[in-house]
Symmetry: C2
Subunit: 263 residues, 2 copies
């Protein structure tokens, strides 16, 4: 059996392109940064780019393609965002209509691809510092919640910040603040620690996306701004067409995680 963790990003992307890999990408090409994808038509691109610029914690941009180009040249110059993700979701007027393995036939000459940083990047240094990550231990998706923290509006795009949550001891939480502060390009430091109610989360056992995870005695919830925010916001503003990756089926870039550290 092939160890996908040891393959180069280019090799993984080729397996995906040939539809030999069709599942989630967690753990593939270890140490290389994975990204969320949002594709919109040019008419919405300025406003969405501005939305990301105004909300860097939830929408850290790793790359934006030229209008009409499907090559994310800054992070993977041989890639093709129409084919190199295992599963895509198509939204029409804000409604999820279909899931496909290749979007070549959906691609239009005025489309722009937004590659957005993902918390996978900072989970590696957390694990390497000996901080356990519950959803990895439980082998499930990270729990995500809508909050009452409004994003900064830009043109048609507005909506609440979505957060991901990891239970930690207070000691680990402090160390996690230090470690993730080094990675502003992938959400950076947490935006909240402790009482979920303070950011509008009613029931921590019922995430809006992903899976609930158990707490151990003495642990507190630690919340990071989440890359699901821009997708959720774009969806609510109902563009005629929007294409995203399917949850967990990410784009694998040529950039090493450590390259996104500022210190």
């Amino acid at each position: 059996m092939v160890n996908y963790g040891m393959l180069e990003p280019k090799e993984i992307r080729e397996l995906i392109r040939n539809q030999e890999i069709t599942g989630p990408t967690a753990g593939m090409s270890k140490g290389n940064t994975q990204a969320n994808l949002v594709i919109l038509k040019k008419e919405h691109a300025f406003d969405f780019l501005l939305f990301c610029q105004r909300n860097p914690k939830s929408c850290p941009l790793l790359d934006v393609t030229e209008p009409g180009s499907y090559i994310p040249a800054m992070i993977a110059e041989n890639a093709d965002i129409r084919k190199d993700i295992p599963k895509y979701r198509i939204y029409r007027n804000g409604v999820f209509t279909e899931e496909v393995a290749d979007i070549t036939e959906y691609w239009e000459d005025d489309m722009v691809g937004f590659l957005i940083g993902c918390s996978f990047t900072f989970e590696t240094p957390l694990l390497e510092s000996g901080i356990p990550i519950r959803h990895i231990e439980e082998n499930c998706n990270v729990p995500m919640y809508k909050t009452n923290i409004m994003s900064n509006k830009a043109g048609m795009f507005e909506g609440p910040t979505v957060v991901s949550m990891r239970p930690m001891t207070p000691e680990d939480a402090i160390r996690a603040v230090q470690i993730t502060s080094r990675f502003p390009a992938v959400h950076g430091a947490p935006i909240h620690i402790g009482d979920p109610g303070q950011i509008g989360i009613k029931d921590i056992t019922k995430p809006d996306f992903g899976d609930a995870v158990p707490f151990k005695s003495g642990e507190v919830p630690v919340f990071w701004a989440c890359g699901v925010t821009p997708q959720a916001v774009a969806m609510e503003s109902k563009p005629s067409i929007m294409i995203t990756h399917a949850p967990g089926h990410m784009f694998i870039s040529d950039i090493k995680d450590e390259a996104f550290s500022v210190l």
Copy 2:
């Protein structure tokens, strides 16, 4: 005599708006972040925003206005970028045509303002760490140079990176790397230390912009990406109209310098 360093940003902006302040803004509203300004028409705004996104070290965006809006709401919600800078420069088709104190009559309904971080912000913590800054000691402009480091192109915008230079002892240079790494929103860490020839600078005594400064024995040049880059690049791509601040005549925001530190 009024001590402009002690006034609130709002008070300074009012004095500027009434043209009671008409000169450079260095040292005013101490501890509040000052910003470079570039105004372009909407037709160029997506490409320019993309250029800044792709070149975050030279073009760290602090705010971008909605098309047609002259209010930089993220960094100063009561400000007006048409009036709150002491001196503006107008460029037509890439040629500098006039310098004015108010651009209300030049403003068009589809203009977008880009507020870009400035090295003033990281000079304060450098000074506070006991690192002398030569151009401040000499009471002149920071020396700036065109390099052979090409920016990442975006649409019509392309060109070389401009750097600012500060002479330092190697020990201070190391400390300066640490300090400025904390401020990715205002150029971040240096992009070069030492031999100017390696980045295409032929004569360190002849800056392309600003003033030459003397070196002391044992000092090396330390180079930061400079906010003049986007202006220079925009000028070369000859948009029908571009408006910028005049050198040294900056926009004073409501945000404290320390708010831009990631650690």
